[in-house]
């Protein structure tokens, strides 16, 4: 994944709380063996309602989504992150995120920005008419009206996002430490370190 620095553009003012991953991408879309094309199924049940916010022309290319508390709760499906990306959404702003979704978002270069509800309320208002800007390096969300909201982010995740680092590549650099740990486990807990293989 490439580096992430700033994200600027219209923001879909969804505002809804507890948006679960079944809402982001329903299970029947998961029968794929690739990561592509899931945007078509994104928010299918919400988009079935005439006049829904996703289908308004001004948000057609919006890179940001604003939602309520506990965004991405439920299933661990990374297809939720892939569906957002396929729709061009590269940042979600919400008061809180489920742990698994937050991890999946990060691994796909999607910024999950947590801000207090009062800030979200203001951004929902701005998003009706104007664009929003997110600066990862400065850790801030700004509007054309001089609003500026600071957000926190895990320093390791920030570095990975800014530099577009390959996490597996980073871990493989610790290969020797993993091997040492495995040797230790093999000695202390051999039945756990090397299981029997008797089935299938």
């Amino acid at each position: 994944m490439g580096p992430v620095t700033t994200i600027e553009g219209r923001a879909i003012p969804l505002g809804m709380a507890n948006v679960d991953t079944d809402v982001i991408i329903p299970a029947h879309w998961l029968k794929t063996i690739t990561r592509d094309g899931l945007g078509q199924g994104a928010f299918e049940s919400l988009r079935a309602v005439p006049g829904n916010v996703f289908d308004k022309p001004e948000y057609a290319a919006a890179p940001i989504l604003i939602a309520g508390d506990n965004f991405g709760c439920g299933s661990s499906r990374e297809h939720a992150a892939w569906a957002l990306l396929d729709r061009g959404i590269t940042a979600v702003i919400a008061p809180s995120f489920s742990d698994i979704f937050a991890g999946n978002a990060f691994k796909n270069g999607i910024l999950a920005v947590a801000l207090p509800q009062a800030d979200i309320d203001r951004l929902l208002e701005v998003a009706q008419t104007d664009p929003i800007s997110i600066d990862l390096d400065a850790q801030s969300v700004t509007t054309p009206f001089q609003d500026r909201f600071a957000f926190a982010i895990d320093p390791f995740r920030k570095q990975c996002l800014l530099e577009g680092l390959d996490e597996i590549g980073l871990t493989l650099a610790s290969d020797a430490a993993i091997s040492t740990h495995e040797t230790m486990r093999e000695q202390a807990l051999p039945w756990l370190a090397t299981p029997r293989r008797e089935i299938a």
Binding site: D20, A27, E78, G103, T171, S174
Partner: protein, 483 residues
């Protein structure tokens, strides 16, 4: 040096830290990895594209479950029947191809060992106390019932575990849910966990690992513990666990992957140390009184939308939080319910007994006890029982449970995830209700427009018999169930 008292979670975590970076991120070693057909194809493909291999193939076990139809898998001559849906067939074919290519043990769809990953892991002794266990499925939390640190991961993490046998993580906060007293007769571990989710909410455990503690768990079966821990994710916690004890050790002894002989004795000695130390401090603590819990039913589209079966559908105004009020209005419209409707007046057209939450032998026994000598109500059009694995199916048939189900008018199916998430042909029709022993009542979860009411297996059986949501205690003489 006297070490600081630690919680069970902290002990397992510390034991698996390979490296800790200055910012607090840890490289955590993973002992066991379960793989199914839905969340793994992209991970294997990425390994191929980057030329990476699987570091420790013997620590991963692959089994298909999500897509499989629950109708017959082989014909009379023992030949595999094709899967009609081409996408489902392609996903299964991908796992069948990927597992051997990367040296991973694969349990075939037609094997008696096949089943839902979260039933198969404990049943095979692949999941063990004190282990770190992951799977690309959020209900991996279930394995915490054995005293393991088990949690769901995304596909990028599946790839990371395959390539490195580790994950980069930060430690979670700790949360104690202390259950005081015992569950009343006819009240089950499913009712307990639905009640807990109702109390703490779907984000109550976010950022935390839950340890379930208290006297009720000391007598709870392994099946019950797996049910409770399974739904930790519905309370927002990525993992939930219960300290392992003799009930767990007796359950595991002799299972195919479990240690044997001298290894078993060494394992036991270590497992007995896996308890939260006296004086250990949790970041958050919640006390639940078991005695007041009734059979519990969900009324809305979020797992914390629960009420006792004797209660009524709440009005949106009864919630303090405006977001929750707005959600309740939407939920009621979707569910076709009005504030004040009595739960016991709600009619159901479908019954689903199954899923990684409630498809183990004890669950099927509980449902069969209610259905024995009874027949489903004519208003119930579709009622299926889907065992969690081929071995559960075999055991149930040996006990004659399958005949009780079929004589009561329920269908007896092949194992898999089935109508819990409706990826296979088992779906609830739009606008219809289902009394379901599964774990999520989300909009469209059991099929577009489907209306799910989460219940225990005994309550699902009672719904089949009466054609409505009903307090199972009115139907059957109840024996006390350990909390």
């Amino acid at each position: 040096m006297a070490s600081k008292p630690r919680t069970l979670y902290e002990k397992i975590w510390d034991d698996h830290v390979v490296e800790q970076r200055s910012d607090g991120t840890c490289l955590l070693y993973i002992d066991r990895h379960l793989v199914h057909e839905v969340t793994s194809p992209q991970a294997f493909e990425a390994l191929r594209l980057t030329g990476r291999t699987v570091r420790r193939p013997e620590l991963t076990l692959a089994v298909p479950d999500h897509n499989l139809p629950t109708t017959a898998r082989v014909d009379a001559a023992g030949r595999r029947l094709p899967i009609a849906d081409p996408q489902s067939a392609a996903q299964l074919a991908a796992l069948e191809r990927n597992a051997p290519e990367f040296g991973i043990t694969y349990i075939d769809a037609a094997s008696v060992n096949q089943g839902i990953v979260h039933v198969v892991g404990p049943e095979q002794g692949f999941s063990l106390p004190g282990a770190t266990i992951v799977c690309g499925d959020s209900h991996t939390a279930a394995h915490g019932g054995l005293g393991a640190l088990a949690f769901g991961i995304g596909t990028s993490e599946v790839e990371h575990v395959l390539a490195t046998q580790t994950l980069q993580l930060r430690p979670a906060k700790t949360m104690e849910i202390r259950v005081e007293g015992q569950l009343g007769p006819g009240v089950t571990p499913k009712d307990l966990i639905l009640h807990i989710i109702g109390v703490i909410g779907t984000a109550g455990g976010t950022g935390h690992v839950i340890e379930y503690r208290g006297p009720g768990f000391e007598t709870m079966s392994v099946e019950g513990r797996l049910t409770v821990c399974n739904m930790s994710i519905e309370a927002g916690a990525r993992a939930g666990l219960i300290a392992p004890d003799d009930i767990v050790f007796d359950y595991l002894k002799g299972r195919p992957y479990a240690p044997r002989g001298e290894d078993w004795e060494r394992a036991l000695a270590w497992w007995r140390s896996l308890r939260t130390d006296d004086g250990a401090v949790f970041d958050k603590s919640v006390v639940i009184e078991a005695g007041v819990i009734e059979p519990t039913v969900s009324w809305g589209t979020s797992p914390d939308d629960v009420v006792p079966v004797g209660g009524c559908v709440p009005s949106p105004e009864s919630f303090a939080d405006p977001a929750k009020q707005a959600a309740a209005v939407k939920s009621l419209a979707y569910m076709g319910l009005s504030p004040g409707d009595k739960i016991e007046d709600i009619r159901v057209e479908n019954v689903f007994i199954g899923s990684c939450t409630n498809s183990r032998i004890e669950d099927l026994r509980a449902a069969a006890e209610v259905l024995r000598g009874r027949h489903k109500d004519p208003g119930v059009k579709w009622a299926i029982v889907v065992p969690g694995s081929g071995l559960v199916k075999q055991q149930a048939e040996a006990e004659g449970l399958d005949r009780i189900f079929t004589e009561a008018g329920l269908e007896w199916r092949e194992p898999g995830c089935s109508a819990c998430l409706a990826m296979n042909p088992d779906k609830v029709p739009p606008g219809e209700r289902c009394a379901s022993t599964s774990n999520r009542n989300f909009t469209g979860r059991q099929g577009p427009g489907a209306r799910t009411h989460l219940v225990s297996p005994a309550m699902a059986a009672a719904a089949a018999v009466t054609g409505r949501l009903v307090d199972v205690r009115k139907l059957t003489p109840c024996k006390p169930v350990p909390a």
